[in-house]
Symmetry: C3
Subunit: 132 residues, 3 copies
């Protein structure tokens, strides 16, 4: 299990981590898939097009719209009420499993891997695990 | 593949199954990840904070709000119309894959595994499979 | 890694691919799980009931409702604005991991695997990878 570290800048922010995931995999010795896992409860991971920055902004806006900030939520963390951040994390998923082809991520032509921050800015970690 | 059995009490209900998943794994002999799989079509699984019960209630309320019960849905099971239960299950996901570290679930500090009931009360099963 | 090819007919369309996934697995030689992976950014995969076609139609309608086509989105592909297609793909997930039992998909009684088209009609691919 390898660890990627990143720092987010905004409350809701998609960060392209495709390169870091491929680098963390290193020499995979015949592994057939890579697990990308987020060990946080207000962040997630997804795969989408990484060619147009406007799309990441659209996905950020959509997640804020699908779960309304003013929803009468009850949960508070030590640093304040943040239920929408947790709910958005569960909707997006804390993990993605990607097949490997000769040690390389078998991503589609337009696919990139995005860390999804829903309660930033924060220091974050991502675990990368090759599976056989 | 190990099987966990549980009984839910309410129509929409998150149930913390972290301990049962760790116990079902048993001695994992060098496995690198654990697959938690729900073999039902009106239930799912997620990972989120398990310290504050109010958060589970917020997630339950959010899933009921994102998919409206009065949506003019067409599907009925033998026991009545329950399309929203099926749709919520697909939004949440029937599976989560979690990395293992020395045989233990490599969950983040605040993370717990929750079975997500969307059509309870029912008797339910969860499959736990170690992967190498 | 095996490849399934399919052709979709409508903009938003769930296509049952359970049989094709089982066939693509072939002789799995003791594999313990099957990864179903969609290498596209406007399509995904889910598991749900495959007995009633009305349910697939309900899920299609729900995904179109949760992400509004008229959302003031900014992203355009070469062939026009399609941000909602990308956002629906991320909400649904590009992958599902299913446990195997004696080489067979350990699906629940009512479960089927559905390719989820969100920007059709198109020619599409699905990767199927057995994991040990």
């Amino acid at each position: 299990m390898q660890e990627i570290r990143l720092k987010t800048d905004r409350r809701t922010q998609l960060v392209d981590i495709t390169k870091q995931v491929q680098e963390a995999l290193g020499a995979t010795n015949g592994a057939t898939a890579a697990l990308v896992y987020v060990p946080h409860t207000t962040a997630g991971v997804t795969i989408n097009e990484d060619a147009d920055p406007a799309l990441a902004a659209d996905i950020e806006a959509a997640m804020e719209r699908i779960v309304d900030d003013n929803g009468g939520w009850r949960h508070s963390d030590a640093d304040g009420p943040n239920a929408p951040s947790h709910i958005r994390a569960s909707l997006m998923s804390p993990q993605i499993l990607i097949p490997l082809d000769g040690g390389k991520l078998a991503l589609g032509t337009w696919q990139g891997i995005f860390f999804c921050e829903f309660d930033g800015p924060r220091d974050r970690k991502v675990y990368v695990t090759p599976l056989s």
